[in-house]
């Protein structure tokens, strides 16, 4: 593994140099037992976290491999693993990308509103209000989605089918319960919105005051100032915030499991009653009834989800860290 961006602090170079170039000068200062124990404990805790992360990968792989290798007649779903998991991956990506398409523009708008448009004094309380959205448990989102949002959207879906039915996305027939992949995506969008907003807000607020004032001094309106000073500064931050939101949307389980009436098909039809399922929702819905190798297959699908979200988060964090190096913040 290479070094992730942003881990090379200047002082680190110093340590390496001291330990490699001048070993003869290393002093053996007596350390106190208290210091040794405390340092050891904290190092052990840190290493335990690495071990946990490795453990997640190792245990999922160990329990997942039998599921991947299982022949079609040994599992309940009766197909090879790739055929089993591919539609789920499709559904996962579809729901997450739909959610992100809705959430990102909205989140940028909300973040901009809080950071630069709302009165300064209100910025913090408004931020809390949005953060409350992040605090709502996912099962509550599920309950809300299934019993309030889904029925409320049925008329909209009818209208979409009647008027925009020629677009494949809205081909219909419109679901009578409203429990479609589009509804699930809307719930997901609401869930990831606070995550993206919080990061964007931070970054917008960090825009160097000088850049903003320079733009205003040139006679820019507030929007022109946002375009000139804020967005160029915040671009990579917005990208990584969106990717973190994507990671969250990919892995969200309960809201999808409860809202979506899934049949595991592969379709781009967003408003019908036959919908693709997602990996996470599928695990939640079938794990308790599963036995034998089916359990292993489910764990293997969890491994796939882990790999996807890990990759997305890894990339997002790498962008954030690189940005930290160049922004000169702190």
């Amino acid at each position: 593994m290479g070094c992730p961006p942003g881990t090379t602090a200047p002082s680190e170079r110093l340590t390496i140099v001291t330990s490699t170039q001048s070993p003869e000068r290393r002093r053996t200062t007596p350390t106190r037992p208290g210091d040794r124990i405390f340092r050891g404990t904290s190092l052990a805790a840190a290493l335990l976290i690495l071990a946990t992360l490795a453990g997640v990968a190792v245990f999922l792989t160990a329990e997942g491999i039998p599921g991947i290798l299982a022949s079609p007649d040994e599992v309940k779903h009766g197909t090879g693993f790739v055929d089993y998991v591919a539609p789920l991956v499709f559904g996962t990506l579809l729901a997450a990308i739909l959610a992100l398409t809705m959430a990102v523009p909205l989140a940028i708008g909300v973040a901009l509103f809080i950071s630069h448009y709302a009165p300064r004094k209100l910025a913090a309380p408004l931020g809390y209000v949005i953060d409350l959205l992040a605090a709502v448990p996912s099962v509550v989102y599920g309950v809300w989605g299934i019993s309030f949002l889904a029925p409320a959207l049925v008329p909209l879906y009818r209208w979409l089918e009647d008027n925009l039915g020629f677009v494949p996305l809205f081909a219909g027939p419109a679901s009578a319960t409203g429990r479609t992949i589009l509804t699930a995506s809307i719930v997901l969008a609401v869930m990831v919105l606070p995550v993206i907003t919080a990061i964007c807000r931070e970054i917008f607020l960090q825009t160097p005051r000088l850049h903003e004032e320079a733009a205003l001094a040139l006679g820019a309106t507030r929007w022109e100032m946002a375009r000139l000073a804020i967005f160029p500064y915040a671009r990579s931050g917005i990208i990584s915030a969106s990717m973190l939101g994507l990671g969250r949307a990919l892995g969200e389980t309960m809201a999808v499991a409860m809202v979506l009436s899934a049949s595991g098909v592969v379709t781009f039809n967003l408003i019908s009653s036959t919908n693709p399922s997602t990996i996470a929702a599928n695990i939640a819905l079938t794990f308790n009834e599963a036995t034998g190798l089916t359990v292993n297959a489910l764990i293997a699908s969890g491994l796939v989800l882990f790999v996807i979200t890990f990759g997305v988060n890894f990339a997002a964090r790498a962008i954030v860290d690189r940005r930290k190096d160049f922004s000169g913040a702190n």
Binding site: T15, T18, Q21, S22, R27, T29, R32
Partner: protein, 259 residues
């Protein structure tokens, strides 16, 4: 109390970067020694090496000897923690502990090391230290209030009280007045005068007049050039240094022609 320090041929490194080179200087007991010189010349670094505080920064190390009372501070079996109990320090910005009251701040050296003492003993230490720091009359009625509620000058004197409460041999002061207004500065300068009867004091300052006012001995540090290590150019009696320095660089600096 109060011991002299003998530094011989001290090099200070940050990693492989030589920050200060070849310093040899005797520091007399019960006197005030001032370090002056342009920014970045290593005088603060050198000061911190006198109680091994520079080791807090990763990769920092020294070469050479610092003898206090004939004992090398950098001998292999020396514990830096014990060294610091012997040689106290006051910092550029006043830094009382925000979670502690005024009295607790004064006793921090004892309390943080979980030293047990009787209430009477503790009260005595608080009063004695605050009196020595010239703060007793101002705070005696509010010893249990947070130390961060005091003014900047009072906070700095609280920090001096905290440093002398552990009865060190030497007191190091790293630009103790640079964050203070002129009145607080003059109070602290008077205090330094009084403290030198009991302690060996080493002070880093950017203020020429302050060095002239408070110190008995002055040492001038300078950089040979950009990226070069800082060096001790000369040291001697303060009156001599200010009236008739040997090195032209010292003269130029003291007369404000550069740095």
């Amino acid at each position: 109390m109060a011991k002299s320090i003998d530094v011989s041929d001290l090099d200070i490194y940050y990693g492989d970067f030589l920050a200060v080179e070849g310093v040899t200087i005797p520091i007399a007991a019960r006197s005030v020694t001032a370090f002056i010189g342009p920014s970045g010349c290593g005088k603060s670094t050198f000061l911190r090496s006198l109680n091994r505080m520079h080791e807090v920064i990763r990769g920092a190390r020294v070469d050479g000897k610092v003898l206090i009372d004939g004992q090398d501070l950098y001998a292999d079996d020396m514990d830096p923690v014990n060294v610091r109990r012997l040689i106290g320090m006051v910092f550029q910005r006043p830094n009382p502990f925000p979670t502690m009251s005024i009295a607790e701040n004064v006793l921090a050296g004892q309390r943080l090391n979980s030293k047990r003492m009787k209430k009477k003993e503790a009260d005595d230490i608080v009063e004695r230290s605050l009196r020595s720091a010239g703060l007793w009359n101002e705070v005696k009625d509010r010893l249990d209030r947070p130390g961060s509620g005091l003014s900047g000058g009072q906070q700095q004197r609280l920090c001096i009280a905290r440093a002398i409460a552990t009865q060190p041999e030497v007191l190091l002061m790293d630009e103790p007045c640079s964050a203070l207004d002129p009145i607080s500065t003059s109070i602290i300068e008077d205090l330094i005068h009084e403290l030198k009867t009991d302690y060996t004091i080493v002070i880093v300052t950017h203020n020429m007049q302050q060095a002239a006012r408070v110190s008995d001995t002055t040492a001038f540090f300078n950089l040979a050039g950009v990226g070069q290590p800082g060096r001790l150019i000369e040291h001697g009696d303060t009156s001599m240094m200010f009236s008739n320095p040997e090195d032209p660089a010292t003269e130029a600096y003291i007369q404000g022609r550069f740095g």
